[in-house]
Symmetry: C2
Subunit: 352 residues, 2 copies
DNA sequence: CAAGGGTACATTAACGCTATCTAACGAGGC
DNA sequence: GCCTCGTTAGATAGCGTTAATGTACCCTTG
């Protein structure tokens, strides 16, 4: 009994061939809908395959075809809604194209990223979509050397000269900044993370330009409030709000009273709201607030937070299509650098 | 030139063997740290492997070893923080054990789940962790027949007779219900999703028992407010809050004034807060509110929401360990059914 | 009815790796 | 100096599939 259950291995192509009295080759062609098999034999084979519960061995298949029909995704952390949206959409697109997705997490650490790259390299992937952690691009060269198509998202590594898709951070910050300036704000503070990422640099730059375009001076000491970088990326990002709360409280306690805040993360707005509320500073009457990310909870903040809808799904869609094109050799030689402009979501926090 | 770049395929074991003047066999043993190779040759081989950038071909390796060192995870949706935490932790544990993770999403649809199962079956996985969508267990039997170790999480399928790990829904609802009852609530409403899941049934049951243990009657018409089931699982779950807002508003507009709400999802609390605020019903003075899930934003709600910390990471940790044990044949024959008790997080919304 | 062409299947050979078995070699014991 | 034994490496086989090539056989055609 036990022998029957435990000892029965998965039926192979050979077993199937023997069962129908044909050779493995014919059976293979029949199942893969290739020519050279009569309709009746094909039907017979397929019926028998069904009956035996035959499942082709991917390992053997991958070996001979040189492909596993799998793409890898390296992101820091899927607790971040941006990345979970991104990964979800990649999975969906990949699925449509008959690919599966290998998930590799780097947890915002260079060593873990290196490890993820190594594992990607050893996983026989057909392609890789990655949001890099470090600015050092050399970690990725083995992927390129191995001939594995690579598409970057979210954070750019210009030296690598590979396709890149991202939300347009510069356009985004200009949208949010302009929105408060259009409502008459004259003294705006950008509350953002103190991290050496290109994304954050672009935001600061765009912010400065928006102010200057409106004839306002940009002074880092006055117009910038920096939230210390994240401590851990495992846990949910509520500490983002805590840190922002502290930074905003300090600023307000120093007597600073800007008439608008533009933040780099909706969670910062959460902390900022509390800091303002504790000091009876009213939103939007006394101060305008613009968020970043359109997190699901923002619509239910009090007052509802104006924010920026980031097109991460579209980023993922384009990146995946591009990757699949590269895998299938259908892509042109041009290296894509695509920044997708986000969308303003205006709610009460910025309306006066 | 182009020929050199494009034509150079990945070096194989044979290439490496030729380069060092040995056979593939010896090289294999050297690289895999098996006995039968002298220390000096081993070092020589490893150096040459490094120099050539040799990466073993997983396809061939998987074929001969019969394993891909990959486990699959099927969940409905990683936008749900519970599942993203779950998947993250599975990835972390798997990584430690030298496994990679294949992500398959079912989007809360039976057809997509079936598709995910098919793809899992055809992916040559060593094992599978899944949170099932449908209650029909037959979809999973091919996995079991194929001898792929399966561990279920979050939603149970008793007929399947496989290991199961979950947060303890019954204990959880009793914790939250008892918390408001202990603060003197006499008329409690459970605001939960109207879905035929075992998890939700268990919650309703536990809720009823908590009331009865405190000598209170349970009447579905009075003590239950049902939120219509989710429409789509692609997008973030802010509509959860919308739906809850509507249901709560209806209830309040019918003149019903319970002295406590216990909800099945923190997002419901978000909608509930708004409905209450609009009617000038104060939390916690007029009504106590208990959430479910300890989402990152709950600490920053006004007032901060008391809620339930769900030990999804622990669930993932145990499930993954069990799966790896099964894969490695180290598990006992006993089928595990493990419910991990959540933890109360008491904040202002339930304190009076 | 022989030549030609297509169909339907079989035979053989990879794909790149690991495992088992075998051979060569040098060291040590009597 | 012969035998034994342990160590190191080579030879061979096989994992399950697909691709390339071969070979019957039947049908058509002049």
């Amino acid at each position: 009994m036990a022998e029957v259950i435990k000892g029965r291995r998965q039926p192979t192509l050979q077993d199937l061939a023997k069962a129908v009295g044909l050779t493995a080759n014919t059976v293979s062609r029949a199942l893969n809908d290739k020519s050279g098999v009569s309709a009746t034999t094909r039907a017979l084979i397929k019926a028998e395959a069904e009956r035996l519960g035959y499942v082709p061995n991917v390992h053997a298949r991958s070996l001979v075809l040189g492909s596993r029909k799998t793409i890898g995704v390296i992101v820091t952390n899927i607790s971040n809604p941006f990345f979970s949206d991104l990964v979800s959409e990649v999975e969906l697109q990949a699925q449509h194209a008959g690919y599966t997705v290998l998930l590799l997490l780097s947890y915002e650490s260079a060593e873990r990223e290196q490890d993820a790259i190594d594992r990607a390299l050893r996983s026989g992937l057909d392609g890789l979509i990655a949001a890099p952690v470090q600015e050092r691009s050399t970690a990725w060269t083995p992927i390129i050397k191995a001939g594995i198509p690579l598409v970057l998202v979210s954070r750019e590594l210009p030296e690598l000269n590979v396709d890149f898709y991202s939300t347009d951070n510069e356009a985004g910050i200009q949208l949010t900044t302009d929105a408060v300036l259009a409502r008459g704000a004259k003294d705006v503070v950008l509350l953002d993370e103190d991290m050496p990422f290109s994304t954050i640099r672009l935001r600061t730059e765009g912010f400065r330009r928006s102010l200057e375009r409106h004839g306002l001076a940009f002074d880092p000491r006055n117009n910038l409030a920096l939230v210390p970088p994240a401590r851990s990326f495992r846990v949910s990002q509520s500490w983002h709000a805590d840190d922002a709360y502290r930074v905003a409280s300090d600023l307000l306690d120093r007597g600073r009273r800007p008439d608008a805040f533009v933040v780099g993360d909706d969670y910062y707005a959460l902390g900022l709201y509390r800091a303002l509320r504790e000091r009876n500073i009213r939103i939007p009457d006394d101060v305008l607030v613009m968020g970043w990310g359109n997190h699901p909870f923002t619509r239910f903040m009090e007052p509802p937070l104006s924010t920026l809808l980031l097109p991460f799904e579209e980023v993922a869609r384009r990146a995946t299509r591009r990757l699949l094109d590269r895998i299938q050799g259908k892509a042109d030689d041009r290296v894509v650098n695509d920044h997708i402009v986000p969308e303003l979501v205006i709610r009460a926090s910025s309306m006066r």
